[in-house]
Symmetry: C2
Subunit: 148 residues, 2 copies
DNA sequence: ACTTCATATGATAATGATTATCATATGGTA
DNA sequence: TACCATATGATAATCATTATCATATGAAGT
C-alpha cells in the first residue's frame, strides 16, 4: 500500500490501490487540485495550470490520462456544457449533484441539490430564475443489454 | 419571398425569409435531409454524406454553417452524447423531446416523450430499463440576467 | 537502503471536429 | 436581366483530445 501522508481522502487512496494504480506525483497533484476545487467544473487545461503549482513538470497528456482513469473509477465526474470541451468535478457520494443550471446570458453554472426532478423548474422559478430550456439524459441499460 | 415548390414546411421557409436567409441549394438539401431523418440525431458528417445526394458539390464548411444558423433559429436542436462531437435533429414543436435515454452498453439512443420529469425513471424501469445515471441541464436565466 | 520492472510520465506528433479565410458563385430584388 | 449582398466550396487554421515512444519512477521484494 502507499506510504506517506497525503491531503487526499483515504477512501480515494484505497480505490486507486485496489485498481492497481500507483499514487504518483502527478496524480497526487491532480487529486489535490480537484479536492481544492470541489464543486467547480474544471477543464483539463485548468487542471493543468493548477497542478503545475504542485508538480511543475506535469504535462497535458498526463492530465488527460489521469482525469480519464479517475473518471472511470467514479472518483471524478465528466460532463460538458456544450462548449466543445469536457469539464471534470470531484464526485460527491452524499449528494446526487448532476443537475446543472446554466444561465444563457452569463454562462454561470449552478448546481441543484435535488434528487427529485419533480417541480424542479418551479423551484427554480421561485428562486427568480427564468427557465428557457432543459436537457435530460438518462443513462439506462435497455432491456436487451441489462447485465446479468 | 422564395419561389418554387419545396419539400420543406412553409413555416420553416417563412422563418428563413424573415431572418434574411436565402434559400440556397445547400440549405434546401440540408433541410430535406433533416426532414427525411426526423427523430434521428445526425452528425455534421452524416448530414454532409446524405446531402451530397441532393447537392453533390456541397462542402463540410457549408454544412457546419448551415446547421449552426438553423440551430440559432430553433429549426434544429443541437445536442451531444459525449462522443466528442455534436448531433442535430429537427425540432418538434408539438412534442417536447429533449429527454434522451442512452444505453451504456449498446449506445442506443431513445427519446422519451414526456413533459413531466416526475416518475420518469420509474416509467423507464417499468419498461424494462435499468437506470444507472442521469444528467439534467436546465437552461435558465439567473435572477441577475433576466432580459427585461 | 538497493534493485527490479511494470506502470506512468512528458514531449511531441497525430487525429478529429469545428471554425476562419477568401476568392468565386448565386439568390432574390429592382 | 443586372446587381450586389450573402452564401459557397476549398482549404488552411484552430482547438481539444489521443497516440506514440523513449525515459523515469513507484511499490514490492531483497
Amino acid at each position: 500500500m502507499f506510504k506517506g501522508v497525503f491531503k487526499i481522502d483515504k477512501k480515494i487512496i484505497e480505490s486507486l490501490d485496489k485498481a492497481g494504480y500507483r499514487l504518483t506525483q502527478p496524480r497526487k497533484a491532480i487529486l489535490e487540485v480537484m479536492k481544492e476545487n470541489k464543486g467547480q467544473h474544471l477543464t483539463a487545461e485548468e487542471v493543468l495550470l493548477a497542478a503545475r503549482d504542485k508538480a511543475p513538470n506535469i504535462g497535458i497528456a498526463t492530465v488527460y490520462r489521469c482525469l480519464e482513469s479517475l473518471t472511470s473509477m467514479d472518483i471524478l465526474y465528466k460532463t460538458t456544457f456544450d462548449e466543445g470541451k469536457y469539464r471534470y468535478e470531484l464526485s460527491d457520494e452524499e449528494i446526487h449533484r448532476h443537475h446543472h443550471v446554466i444561465c444563457p446570458a452569463c454562462g454561470k453554472i449552478s448546481e441543484v441539490e435535488e434528487d427529485l426532478l419533480c417541480s424542479l423548474e418551479q423551484h427554480l422559478e421561485d428562486q427568480g430564475y427564468e427557465v428557457v430550456d432543459h436537457h435530460l439524459k438518462v443513462y439506462a441499460y435497455c432491456p436487451e443489454c441489462i447485465p446479468k
